[in-house]
Symmetry: D3
Subunit: 125 residues, 6 copies
């Protein structure tokens, strides 16, 4: 049942299926929250790339693997480089402490997985 142990494809499939199930229940509070969650990362005074890095570091210090996975994917799509990812992880590690380390390890594994699926040269941006 879990999202945390499978591949990125498994994660995405479970996420899509369960989001549909949740939204299909028609609870207005929940459905509005999901809409708001999407729009929070749209460009404003800060661009989407910066906002996604904010979402990533927040997910890291709150230690949510699925949230980290989601924002790693989004950050990679925004062109965040490996060196920039490490800077985000570094701030998250210092603020959040060693308790963050297991999530950092899994974030690295996800980043590897994402990079392996990118067209050649993408991570060199």
């Amino acid at each position: 049942m879990s999202e945390t142990t499978g591949s990125l494809a498994d994660f995405n499939a479970f996420r899509a299926q369960m989001n549909d199930l949740v939204l299909g229940k028609g609870n207005l509070t929940i459905n509005r929250f999901f809409a708001l969650d999407s729009r929070a990362y749209e460009p404003g005074a800060l661009g989407t790339k910066t906002k996604e890095m904010l979402g990533l570091v927040a997910s890291m210090v709150l230690r949510c693997d699925d949230c980290i996975t989601y924002h790693v994917v989004q950050c990679a799509e925004q062109g965040v480089t490996d060196e920039e990812f490490m800077d985000v992880f570094g701030v998250g590690l210092v603020v959040g402490g060693s308790i963050v380390i297991p999530h950092l390890r899994r974030a690295m594994a996800r980043l590897e997985e994402v990079r392996a699926q990118e067209p050649a040269g993408r991570s060199k941006q």
Copy 2:
């Protein structure tokens, strides 16, 4: 070793086996805590149904999947309807934020699993 990835039957089996192991160690503090944890949901000024919903929302904002599973099962036994579950999840989501969403997805999957095991019509209560 984990409880989080298997079926409800796996969860219950691991939970029973490990509770026995823990309680068998005879640590007085731990054993009394387990007894207290059971009695906290017995009817008082508030009934068990309300207390179980309180336990569920607390588990959701603290983001503990196994605790959510436990209280989803207990709430279902107390006759909590799907619409009431969504209201509990909605409060948990607004208070706890988007970091709660992955746990909400897994809570929905558990609820589906629980409903599938109920005698016909139970979820219509």
Copy 3:
């Protein structure tokens, strides 16, 4: 500058002043979140009284004094009795542990303050 050390009147004044300042900035994400936060406690499958108790126990296990203050006031307005408050606090304490105790003490002080401001007999409901 703090909201946590003053009277209920101080809390309400600071809260109103700062909410105005925040909302006046016109950030769409933040303003929509505030609107959503209000509507989450409106009656649905569960009534406002139950939803406010859910908000209170969630605030207690997350250990936010100002959130506790807010929901204690709302619960009192919904007719939650002292015995029901203690049941909510009891679930919060067992789920959240002894780390919750200082917040329980301050919640009790707030409840006393709220009761002292109620018309005679209100807490006997």
Copy 4:
């Protein structure tokens, strides 16, 4: 109303007054929890000094100033030296991260206050 801004004497007075108020309500779950909380630090396989240091580091990583104050006082009574306090704080800081630093500063201020009230030479133990 707060316990966090005053002297140790203020903290103790508010704590005693509110504990009386809470326990006087006669909620069985809460009253049993308070009793269990006391006995958790009684000597067992580990002595009280070690258990109080465990309570202190747990309070530090969970970032509860009042809990830290309580365990600093208890640890000092158990003869924990300044160097041992710093070792406990060091583990708490590395596990919990920089978010712990403001609580570490207040813990130091409390320790100074406790040492100032001890008979001469106590902190040299």
Copy 5:
């Protein structure tokens, strides 16, 4: 004793005094952590402005008022505009939920205090 209720000047004075006291104890783990905490925000693949916004959103979702105060000051020195601050707060609010709101109110009050001390026109950058 608290840092959270006073002015920015009070905060800075207590912070400096207690940091001196902590570092003067000579605990190698703690002193190295403090050094590491400083260097985490130095420019790397990401600039200091971005890193300070990461530190701010992490402090907000972890709900540490003193950490928020520190990063609000640092962000303002890096030229973060009011609109950018609101975007950071918006991401923190959506990720962390309504439990973040009291800290958002205090962050706004700190930002006002910081702006009032800036040379004319600074916040227009």
Copy 6:
């Protein structure tokens, strides 16, 4: 991809592989944090055994299964007995509340796994 569901050998293999990957990126903040994390448990005013028990209880109340696994292994190597483990778990449970219970169950399973791999008589120390 997860570390939490496999055997201790799986945990150690993933941990070593990912630590190498992280450290190989050469981010100075992260690499220094890892070094600091190791030295925090070296003997000082408190011995390594006590420090590892502090790390274990901190990991338990912060509810990080991988951190718990790591410190259970280290504590066992330092000669912590089953009775002492239960005392550490008892403090963690009372401080952290019932939300800790699923992690306590997994900690017990890990301890069993560790004991099964020890030379005969080790757990009788």
